[in-house]
Every structure is written in C-alpha cells, then in structure tokens.
Symmetry: C3
Subunit: 356 residues, 3 copies
C-alpha cells in the first residue's frame, strides 16, 4: 500500500528529451513525454487499442504516437486520431497530474482532484546562483521504507561508508529526533573532530584548510511521501559550527527523493546541493562522482536486507534510539495512508489498486 | 489451452542433423531425432528410467540412447535395451506423430489417432525451381496469438518497420477481411506509390527499375492452427499490379509458422519464398538478412505488449476494422478448441493436460 | 523436509579466512566466521537490529560486527555491544553447533542438544602422510538426492564421462548393493580390462605401466545424511585387484559431501584422496583438474533432470538393480527423517521450519 496522494519525483528532464519514458511508480506503469510547448504529460503506459506500451512510441509535433499501429494519444488521455479510424468512441486512458519544477518532473499517482502543485517541496537551490547541484538515479530492489530508515539513521556511515564519510564519532555522538507536524528531524552535532576524506575534499573545494579540527553536523529531515533532505557540513572548529559564516565552512544539502516502484523496489534520486564555490563545475563533478561511489555502497546492503526480511516476515526488528527517525517517519506515512483509505471509502471512490 | 489436434512446425531439418533436439511445444517437452533410414521421430523428452531428458543423449545406429545411463529408446516410445537390464516391463513413453515435409519437421501434439499428414499445409515453393526460399527462427516471450494479430494487421509496418517496409500508404489504404471456411484473408492494395527500401532491393533483385511508381499488395492468409502466409509484392505501376506478368513485378510469400511453447512464449519460424530470380543465392541471402532485421523489430513490442496484458487482464482491447483479421482468426481457433474439448469429453478420452 | 539432526559440510576453512561467509544450508541462512582463537562460529545470518545479513559485516578481534550499524555479535548469538546502546535486552539469534575437523567446517542445522562431534565421519587421509587430497565445490540446482542417486549408480560414467572414466565394462559388470546398518554399499569389480584415460593418468602418477590389462573396482559407500565415499582404483591385472599391494595399484577414495541448500539446490563438496605418490603436488593438481572437468559433466544432466521431475511430479521412476544404491540410501534418509519428526512431536519441541 502506497501513499498515492502525494508528489513523487518521476524523472529528470533529460530523461524525456528525445523520446517518451516508461516508468513504473507506486505499481502503476506511466509514460512521460513532452507535449506541445514542452509541457510534460504523464499517462497510463497502455495503448487503448491493443495494450502496447505507449512509451515504445514517438512524440510527433507534441502528440504521443503509439509505436505499434500509430494511434495518436492526446495529453489528457483521449485518442486524438488513428489512421483510417473514427476515434471518438475510444476509451480514455488515465492521465496523471504532472509538474516540471526545480529540475525534476513530479507526478501525483493518486486522486487527481487532490493534486495541488503548491504542495511540491520547495527546493531553494534551484536556479539560485549561490548554490550548485549535482545528482543521479539508482534503481534498488528494496522497499523504499528501508531507504528511509537508512537515511534517517546515519550511524551506518561509520560501517557502510567507512572510507569516505564514515567516522567513529558519528556512532559516539548521540542523535536527537523530533517530530514537527509531518516533518521528522534527526540531528547530530560532532565538535572538534578530524574531517573524513569526503569532507576534506569539500573543505579544499571551498579553499579551506582540510587538516585542522572541524565541527560537523547532520540534520536529516523527512517529509512525506518519502523525501529526505539532509543538511550536512563541516566548519573549522570554534567558528560557530553549523552557524559559522560561509567563509569558514563547507555547507551542503544531501538530496534524497525516494520513489516506490513496487512493494520491493524503488527509484532513488540522489544528489547534493552545495552552498560554497558554486561556479566551480569541476568541483560539482568530483562531488557527484564521490557521492555516486558512496551511495553505491548502500545498494547491496539494502537489497540483501530486503531478502532477509522477505524470508522472515515473522521477525520483529529492534527500534533503538538511532532508529527513531525511521520509526517516526513510517508512523507519519502509516497515518497518511490510513487517512487516504478512509477518504476513499467515504467518497465512495473506487480504491486505486495498482498492478504490482 | 492450445489447439492440439493440428500440425505445427517443430523445427527445421538442420536442427536434428547431428544430435537430438529438445523443444517444448504446446507445453509438452518433446525430443526430435532421426531414427533409421533418416526417419524423424518425436517422443516425450523424459527417460522412463530416471526422468533424464532424452534430448541430452545421442543417436547411435538410429537408436536414441539416454545420455545418463544408456537406455536405448525405440522410435515408438518403447525401450529397446539397457545394459544389464530386461526392459520388457518398462513403461512406454508417448510418441508423437511427426512428418518431414516441405523443408520442415511437423509435429501433431494432440490425439495421434486423428493425425492425418495430408492435412499438412501444402507449400508449393518447396523443391520448385521457380521459387527460392530463405528463413529463420525466433523465440519470443509472448502468447502466439499476439503474433497472429501482428501478422494479420500490417498497418504496424508503418510504425514498427518505418525504415524498411513501412510507408504511410499502408495506413491510408483500407484493408478487407473475409472468412472462407477456416481461412481468414485480410488484403490491401496500394496503387501508384513509391516503393519502400526493402521493395527497392527486391525490384533490383529482379532487374527492375526501383525508382518508378509501383502497385503494392499484401494478402494475409491465416489457417489453423497458426500459420500466416502473406502474399506480398510490388509491380511497376500500370502493369496489372498483383496480376502483372512476372517480368514486371517482384512477388513473394512471407512465411510465418507460429508454434506455441507455453501460454506466454512461442517459436516463430519465419521466411520468405520468392518467385523471381530464384537462382540468385546472394539475393536469397540479402533478403533473408533484411527480413531478419525487420522481424527483429517486432520482438520488443510483442514482449512488452504481453507484459502489459498480463498486468491488466481486466482490460478489454479495441477491435477495429484493421484488427478484423486477428479477431476472426482467434474466433476460428476458439471454435476448434471448443470442438476439441467436446470431442475429448464425448470419447471419454482423458483430456491432454500438458505441463506448463 | 531435510534430515536436520546431522553433520553437514558447510564450507572449507579457506572460505572464512578473511571475512564472514553467508551460506544457506537446509533452507537456513547461516553466517560462518572465525571468532577468538580461530574458533569457527555459525550463527543465524540475520542481525537482530534491522535484519541485515551479518555475513556482509566484518570480524574484528574475534567479534562479528554488523556491516550496517556496527552491532557486535558474540559467538553464542548474543549481542555483545553496539555503539551508544544498552544491548542486554536484545533478542539472541540462533547459534549452530559447528566443528572444524579433517579440513572441513561441519555444521549441525538441527537440535543443538543432540549434536555430538564424535559422530562426524572420520576421514583417515587427513593429516596422514600416506595420503594426498585435492577437491573443490560446485553449486547445483537440483535436489541433493538426485546426486546421491548419481553417485550410487556409476553406470552413468559410461555415458556422462565417456572420455575419461567411462568404459563399456562398467555397464556390463553387475553391481551388488548391501545395506549395513545406516550404510549402503554398492560395489562393482571389473577384471582384466583396459584402463580408461583418467586411470592411465593415475597409473603413470604411481610410476606404473598404463598400457597393460588392469583390474578395476568401485565401492560406493553412502552414510547419512548425504556423504558418498567411493573406493576406486586399478591394479595391474593378476596382482590381486583391490587387495594388490600398493606397488601394483593406484588406489583412491572419491569424496562426495552433499549439502542441501534448498529443496531443489545443493552444495557439492567433491574431491579425491589418493594413497599413492602422496608427495607429488603436481599430480595432486592434475588429478584435481581432471576431476573438476569430469564432475562438471554431471551438472547439466542433474539440473535438467530436476526440471523434468518438477514438471512431472506424478510420474514414477524405475528402480532397477543399478538403482538399488540410491533407493536404499533414500530409504534410510526417509526413516531418519520420520524418526526426527516423531522425536520433535514427542518432546513437544516446536518443529524447525526453515525458510525456503
């Protein structure tokens, strides 16, 4: 069961530059493409004629043309034309609310009547000259909630990412989790420590000495449906830490948009927005490369953890203080999904049952 | 549910030249090999001793020898000998009616008592000096009936095969479907058009100008269980089209023998028989190569369509005029399968339930 | 259903040299590693914290450290420590009796109270200067009992291993099967025959002529749960055969430890212990290489046989005299499994239901 009434990142704009993109989101196969005036459209990836995936077709003058028999699909899910056919009686296919914003394509897989683009998470770094951004996409064979757990408990860095961002002090410093409405915040501050390799790179990237003691912070913020934005950074020790002036620190936001594919697989849009030396493209590239390597280290662990959990559905997991971020995030999700179910029942809208 | 009381193409002779061939047909695992005097034999691919696939064995002096413990199987499914054993009491395995004819091995997966070799589809081009033939084999992960639909509606050529045999005029010219007994015929004639690349190759192959207007025809003929033979060709415009004399046209038959493997996979024996310049082997090779490339373009579409249909069994597909050929062919199949089921019940023959 | 109250070979020592090893045995995912003083430990491969496989972790000063969040697991399945946590209340995970002996790691996947290391099969060649040993490991997608059948009926050598150890005389010489308690013995003696290629290599390895008639023997011994040790060899004809003095023969034991992974897959620990020219390491290597090649020939047959049997569970296989070894071995297994089930019921111990 997914939270369907929510905005998920579906893809990045470059993925629909040349041709339609087929992607399964929350169990629903969707085709994304650019219609007239570059407007993004999201439709059921199923031609009403014979069931071919529309994503195997082409876009011609803003119309999606089925690659099998040439049916022309309109941006609202109604067939516009088909060679030699009257199409007025053709059944419509489902159209999904979709918005291009902040460098991402966002889709709403639930009840279209409830889709409000103002609820899309604001990303302040987009088109902002003080910031630079780089990121990527992974497909992972695990429940997206395992990734929420992962990102809301960064003690794993010490073990999974021992050679880059991990360090013993993460474990040793207590974290604090608070819930503010639908937001869960887990924060940890480590003072007067040695910077691990990735952060030395970042310090040098901001023309700062990398061999002096630093203060380090990690502030993980979960918001539904499955966004985790993490303020991270280091400042030269004694300069105010998180509150130090930009000249004394390297400050970034780790960006994690988790989009469920099925109950046991997900799309992971990851990236880093940094607020230092934003014009240095080589630095953007090297940070992106480093992050790609680091985040790759999680994949095997998450996929093997998923297999273990599927083999033992009866086992209860521990919920320690370090797990509070994930536990609270899941609680908010469960509550929202329960509300969604109640709402559907009340409105006698037939429940949306995605194919798995 | 398959139409079992029918002749299917099982393989080509070269596939059993050196050793036995194991192939699953209509859900039944069958071993094919050449017994004495080169006669083709088809048996259950299951050694009665310990269940080893007989197709992993060898053929020695016309006897199929199990590759595990040396059981010698006879062409009627009775064990002939086994080192150190008396084999009289060994259970027989099923033997299938099988015939080598017209350059193919044909098998009858149903009730052997009903198998009549005279019902094998006559292929007039075989061993006929006026014709040349070339072809190949694909394995496709789709219901064979999706391929029937594909071949009985050639409007897909415009989209799937846009760079070779497709052209806009196919779409724009109406097709006509008729049912003649158990045969379904869908035909389309396009006059005074430009020949697409594949047909330019064919015209040159018959020493005809390829840059003049042509008349083009496509006459698709479905016959049970799943043969689709398509008369195709082009003639210089104004020379009588389909009825033009051989000197003014390039005339061929596209050969499509579809053999179900399981409910969602099939063997596709494809080829082209041409009635022009038959002695030109280089032309045969280049036509075969072109057809291989063209038919490869269908595979991804068919397999992805199959997945879409499996994910949405509840959705009804459209049946347009262009789909009439497939629709009528499926109707004939359904009727024959219903008759087969009734016949089995009446004769109190235990129903043949193939393993899937 | 497996015989759980038994010692199985889990791995070889080199497999846990550097890091933990995860291996599924009798449907149970187990992690093996070396704790303090090199003692081997076997635990449930499931971290009690969040279900990560402990086998993805590391061993630090004899403690197994989970690779996800640093939980330190003790050798009895109790959590020792975790950064920033009190672990006293953590649930224990299952610990398995495990013993390192004779060059193998042995595990007891059943009731720990019944595990008696003295019941581990004695291997006389280990650490014995009169013997040399070489071997390897295969993963095979078949029920381990199909491999018992294979090894207790060596007539298959004539067909599967025709170019190395097979010869027509195996088929032609009757075998004899006896049951001695829980041991099944199938033996075959062939006198005054020509040695096949593998045995010519062995004769030369013992500085004996390889082109003279030999006496050959095969004495297969099954003992539960699934060990098959086969005395094999050739002696120059007329020197006493099996009883010939070492100077006139090449005598070996084929070692087969079969460890079920799931109902349809297994780990196959194979090897050969030889009692001639034991110091010749090049000979050990070439025998091992030959055996690797020969035993590889069985894999496809076994896996395809398994598929055939899964497709036709209703079919009964033949049980010929040559099959007596496998049939009797399976009977002993069935009886022991029935006893195990009865014992569990009587002691009201909850039955051990491994995940598949």
């Amino acid at each position: 069961m997914f939270l369907l009434n929510a905005w998920y990142v579906a893809c990045t704009p470059n993925e629909i530059d040349d041709k339609p993109l087929g992607r399964k989101i929350c169990g629903q196969s969707i085709v994304f493409y650019r219609a007239q005036e570059n407007q993004v459209v999201a439709l059921d990836d199923f031609c009403p004629h014979r069931g071919a995936p529309l994503s195997l077709g082409t876009v011609t003058e803003g119309k999606l043309v089925c690659g099998y028999h040439g049916l022309e699909m309109g941006s609202e899910g109604k067939t516009i034309a088909m060679p030699g056919q009257r199409v007025r009686g053709f059944p419509a296919i489902r159209s999904y609310p979709v918005v291009e914003r902040y460098g991402f394509i966002w889709v709403w897989p639930g009840d279209a009547a409830l889709a409000d683009p103002t609820k899309i998470h604001h990303l302040e770094w987009h088109d902002n000259p003080e910031w630079a951004y780089g990121g990527g996409l992974f497909h992972i064979a695990c429940d997206y909630r395992l990734m929420i757990d992962n990102l809301m408990d960064l003690t794993h860095e010490t073990y999974v990412h021992a050679t880059s961002i991990g360090q013993k002090e993460i474990d040793e410093s207590p974290c604090k989790t608070t819930v503010e409405g639908q937001q869960v915040v887990t924060s940890r501050y480590m003072n007067n420590i040695s910077a691990p390799p990735f952060w030395r790179l970042a310090l040098r990237g901001n023309n700062l000495a990398d061999d002096v003691p630093v203060d380090r912070w990690q502030i993980c913020r979960f918001t539904p449906p499955s966004h985790v934005l993490i303020e991270v950074g280091v400042a030269h020790a004694g300069q105010g830490g998180y509150d130090a002036t930009p000249a004394h620190k390297a400050y970034s936001v780790v960006v994690d948009f988790l989009t469920p594919e099925s109950e046991t697989s997900m799309w992971y849009f990851w990236g880093m927005a940094r607020k230092f030396n934003p014009k240095d493209k080589a630095l953007t590239a090297s940070i992106r490369e480093g992050q790609h390597k680091i985040f790759s280290e999680d994949l095997d662990m998450l996929e093997r953890q998923q297999k273990n959990l599927l083999a033992h559905p009866e086992r209860k997991l521990l919920m320690l203080n370090i797990d509070a971020g994930g536990v609270q995030s899941r609680k908010i999700l469960e509550q929202l999904i329960a509300e969604q179910t109640a709402q559907q029942a009340a409105h006698t809208i037939p429940p949306i049952v995605p194919a798995t």
